[in-house]
Symmetry: D2
């Protein structure tokens, strides 16, 4: 079975309202850029917020991290690379690399972890069947 490369690239344009008084993008906005990347990934590969929500599953973020390397300024374009991390626990993990669009210099790296809840907000300890099938289809489970 051919494995797809589970990664997307999302173009970001820095908005005026995202820049702080030091003239650079306020650090909290990178969390939004990562979400832009994660949403494009979910849309492309069929595992976005609504794909889960329509099956009665919530996928809240439980952990987020960001390392800032270089500033972004007003008018900059950047690319978020969102990469699916295959983990054995009942979680969804992504790694993010944010780069300048022109120079390809790395601006920031980050990661996020999501868990599965039912609509009563109870933690699901096993992969939901829908997601298990998705992992199989993408060659992410050994023996399949």
């Amino acid at each position: 079975m051919k494995k797809r490369d589970l990664v997307t690239k999302t173009l970001i344009q820095v908005r005026f309202s995202e820049v702080d008084s030091m003239g650079i993008v306020w650090h909290g906005n990178y969390i939004k850029y990562f979400e832009d990347g994660r949403e494009e990934f979910g849309n492309k590969f069929g595992i976005n917020y609504l794909d889960f929500r329509n099956r009665g599953i919530l996928i809240p973020i439980v952990k987020i991290g960001c390392d800032y390397k270089r500033p972004l300024i007003y008018g900059d374009f950047a690319v978020v690379e969102t990469r699916f991390v295959n983990c054995e626990a009942a979680k969804i993990q992504y790694e993010y690399t944010l780069s300048h669009h022109k120079t390809h210099e790395i601006v920031a790296t980050g990661s996020s972890t999501q868990v599965f809840l039912n609509l009563n907000r109870e933690l699901l300890l096993d992969f939901p069947p829908f997601f298990l099938e998705w992992k199989k289809r993408n060659g992410l489970i050994a023996g399949h």
Copy 2:
């Protein structure tokens, strides 16, 4: 019947993340300050978002406006005065005055209008009974 003065004053502290690259509060954040004022009003007088929501009524904003007079900078404190405007149509209207906490200079003025929807998002052309009672209790309906 003694009329209460239907107004609240809400203290605002400018956050670092609210200041733009010109060193002043980004204009879109004033809409948030007005909402802070509106929520305090709603909590104090018993007509907040949840008071309506629990009765099956949504109160979305349909009109907003803001006039900017003076800038706010990082570290400034300001006061939002939120004043209920008694209107005869099935709407909720507020007027806002944002002032410097120390100097009392006016920073901005604004207004908002909300309508009533049921949970199917259909417009209600009459005041919901709950709100009609509220208006009576506050001496806002002639003859009461």
Copy 3:
């Protein structure tokens, strides 16, 4: 002299973080969408924030307004039409029309007004020469 149609259309995708607990875009985010439109206009026609800033002129917003017609939900695409309004006073005015991308239904309309300040934040009562030239080039001043 041929007049250019001073209007831009900017595609917007609703972000997850822009949707509120009623499942629709929080009203304050429309101010950001208008700014997205205004920035695209400024970039296309050479009168963006930096074009002024590099000539020692600040162009803060002094008035904003928005009328909300229909909600936007998560995943929606919308188009901001940004139209330059030719006014005789030393101001920059825009009108905005936000529409659903597919249905073309109008979601919101709005407007903004900006003034000219020097770097001491003093109001300029006349058009800056740079902007006067721009208006002439675009056939916006009678007799030219």
Copy 4:
């Protein structure tokens, strides 16, 4: 020398605009809550953004992390505990604990790291004298 306990507690009220379509605070807003805590700490202990800025030093965030334990909903009050972490490298580190105001249950924990830049945005490898003095005054440097 008596050591002060280098910690502040900051009360947060969840804003309507901070809640997402799942009815809980959008995860990116916790970064703002941590900043609220960090600013109160900086104001109380004399090491805020402007204390550095006025000495020609910028203190950008280079690393941030957050672990989410429980959701916050609209109307909740929470407390950010901001604790200074004494580190030997030329950095400023804080740890944050966000708790429900009433139940004291932990909502989230997090951390941030800042570095020192001069106004040319060059990294300073040593503590700025102003900050070294501050550390001495607070008994954070051995032998003092």
